[in-house]
Amino acid sequence: MGPNLFAALGEPNRFRIVELLRSGPRAVNDIGSRLKLRQSQVSQHLKVLKETGLVHAEPRAQQRLYGLRAQPLKQLQGWLDRYRRIWEQRFEQLDELVEELKREEKADAAGKSR
């Protein structure tokens, strides 16, 4: 998965489209009317989303329906999890160090006041 996925979801209207598609595949005009977006805007956003692999098109009767693909989102979630975990672990290690520094300082202060 390339970096495009982040850029794709970073655009608010694209994120709204992805959220809408959670309820199932939809046609361009349906997406446009629900989100109050012009059809040309929707098509442009869908093009970007398709390039990232987030969305795929399927022909149905007279129209094309756009739906979500699970795999890229799972990968994205994996990245986010890892990012936050790395910082959380750093901070937990920093918590320990801060406690130790506080204890040392207290001991120093006690030593000096003697």
């Binding site: 970096p3 970073g10 979500l68 986010l80 990012y83 790395i86 290690q93 520094l101 506080k102």
Partner: protein, 171 residues
């Protein structure tokens, strides 16, 4: 998605990651100690080596130098293999102990992406310190690229939204 543990919620100790714009990423966390202690831990090499590298990933900070003054340079070499380290380097733009630190940061493996500007604020209240790490990337692509390369970067959408999204796809 990991839900905040109950204790973290109550104390505000939860680590938050937010992508504020295409070029900005913000990490926040509250630490249980005064600002001057947290500031020292963030700026003294002998202290940085004790916490900065996430141990569970088998990563160590092999080399850490820090000339803490405006214009002074720092360098962190870290990773799994000391012979082939990842390097962050840069210089301090603002040094205001114990409240604020502004520095540039270059990820040397992606030198062409340019320098990020990092602003760290330490706000003390009742013996605790609210830390905010604000990262401004030179371009949107630099942030996206940093994320994609597996560096510790994130994005702005809330975890809950994405969790719901992913959860709904499992059904």
């Amino acid at each position: 998605m990991p839900q905040a543990r109950a204790g973290e919620e109550a104390t505000g100790a939860e680590t938050r990651v937010e992508r504020r714009s295409e070029r900005e990423l913000v990490v926040t966390r509250t630490l249980n100690g005064p600002a001057r202690t947290v500031f020292e831990a963030w700026t003294k090499p002998e202290l940085l080596t004790r916490w900065w590298a996430p141990k569970s990933l088998g990563v160590s900070l092999f080399e850490c130098t820090s000339d803490l003054r405006v214009g002074g340079v720092y360098r962190y070499a870290f990773g799994r293999d000391p012979k082939n380290p990842e390097v962050f380097s840069g210089r301090y733009l603002e040094v205001t102990p114990p409240a604020r630190l502004v520095l540039t940061q270059l990820y040397e493996r992606m030198r062409e992406a340019g320098e990020a500007v990092i602003t760290i604020t330490f706000e003390e209240s009742q013996g605790r310190t609210r830390l905010t790490l604000h990262q401004l990337f030179p371009t949107k692509e630099a942030l996206d690229g940093a994320v994609a390369s597996g560096m510790e970067r994130g994005m702005r959408e809330t975890f809950e939204q994405l969790d719901a999204l992913v959860g709904s796809l499992h059904q």
